[in-house]
């Protein structure tokens, strides 16, 4: 089952989680050149922190700041039952 959190609006991002046996993190961003690595890092660090390794994370970003990306991911993980 896919779960989402966030919106594809300016300064926000939409996170979509789908089942996977390994961790996959995919980032699309209007500021990919400037911040693609930074977004990837926030997503991975957050997954590490919550010990989630088997999930596919897609992030469709429209210029969200780090704390927004992180909050959207945590919400999606909770909605999907990946974490409490």
């Amino acid at each position: 089952m896919n779960v989402t959190a966030g919106t594809y609006e300016s300064s926000d991002c939409l996170i979509r989680l789908s089942p996977s046996t390994t961790r996959k993190v995919i980032v699309e961003s209007i500021v990919f050149d400037q911040f693609g690595d930074a977004i990837q890092r926030v997503l991975n660090d957050t997954l590490d922190q919550y010990g989630v390794s088997a999930v596919q994370v897609e992030c469709f970003d429209k210029g969200a700041l780090d704390y927004t990306v992180r909050a959207r991911l945590i919400t999606a993980l909770k909605r999907g039952g990946y974490i409490e």
């Binding site: 300016s10 300064s11 209007i30 500021v31 050149d33 400037q34 911040f35 690595d37 930074a38 429209k62 210029g63 969200a64 700041l65 780090d66």
Partner: protein, 468 residues
Amino acid sequence: MPPVFCHSLEELFQHIDIHKHKHLSFHHHLRNGDFVMNTVLRHYRDEQVEGLHLHPSSIFPSYTMLLELLERGQIASVTTNYLNGPVAQWISEHGLPGELKMQTHGGRARSIIDGRDRIDVAYLAAPAVDAMGNAVGYLGQHRCGSLGYAVADSQHAGITVLVTDTVLSDPITDPEIQGVDVDYVVIVDAIGDPDGIVSGTTSITTHPIGVRIASLTVAALDAIGAIREGFSFQSGAGGVSLRVTDELSKIMRQRHITASFFSGGITGHHVAMLEAGLVDRLYDVQCFDLAAVDSLARNDRHIPISASRYANPADPDQVIADLDVVILGATEVDLDFNVNVTTDSHGVLIGGSGGHSDTASESQVTVIVSPLMRGRLPLIKDRVTTITTKGEHVDLIVTERGIAVHPERVDLKAKLEQTTLPVMTIETLQAIAHSYTGKPVDPPLGERIIGVVEDRTYEILDNIHQKK
């Protein structure tokens, strides 16, 4: 001798050999409502004229025939002051067989007058023309107001063609374009679409960040003593600029201060201040809305001016030589106060100087107003992607989180530091932005240089790179 009147472009091309003349100019006063450029260029497409060098004063998204000619490889070079939309995107991605040259409004007029830029045929949309070929922009079926950007073309082109849908039976007594300069008048059904002619961006911002920037700007202007009897002022038609103008008007009313003139692009907000006696004259190179067009037609103190008189440094009557304060925007600024309004942070063409560098160069005080961050992109770069206006011409940068003063303006800095305004170094301002966004990784520019930014002095300010 009066010009030759033609009743179609087909008839015109019986007089002019379409294949012989490659340097063509147009003005952009009809903006996205312009029919003239597309209609004229359709003939060049159909006749498969190659090696064109176009000199439109600006390029708007609706100028789709230009895109078609680019795709067919018929255009060698483009010289303009501003471009956005699909043409800008295409040139960023593909470049040109020749060169893209980005000029300023004053620099374009100067260059045409000096003969550095040769115009073979100027195709000029003219809202109202009389039997002698005299023309104004504030009368007719499709009025645009001032024709300021077309005047140098009309005087210096090899062949000057007016395209109109309104021929007046009464003579025009004080024309912007003189009939003696006109060779042909082509009568068409419509030169434009009224909905696209007015820019529609002329409302005062209510966005909290814009409001904050505007009130800091006005407070800073007050602190440096700029709001005084007889001061002169220019602001664009952007929402923040208009809010600055609006807040200024309140202070001027309270203190009974009258400004000497406003210059540049004129809106209904400027007109209201003229009519309220808050400003003595409007020098109008471009009308942004119908209120401005109507005012130009009826008010003697609302004066249409040519781009040369507006901003050509070699023009003895240059209006902005007397400018005290200008408010300008920025896509990016850098630690040396250079400003970019030509490309975005991805290196794609999104605009151009227009009068940015002109007014910044001349004005006693140049204020850049901008949000400190747009989305995740911080305003202040170590080095701007493209230099549109040199940092030496910029005095204040006002953002919602702080004001940076150019280090050489110790006079302004001393006055601002006597207030409670958030004055800080540009490095501090940049660090504040980075504390939210992180430091962006600048995408490498494409290796191929596709064009240049040329200042009004003819100095090449920067190269424009192909988008990778």
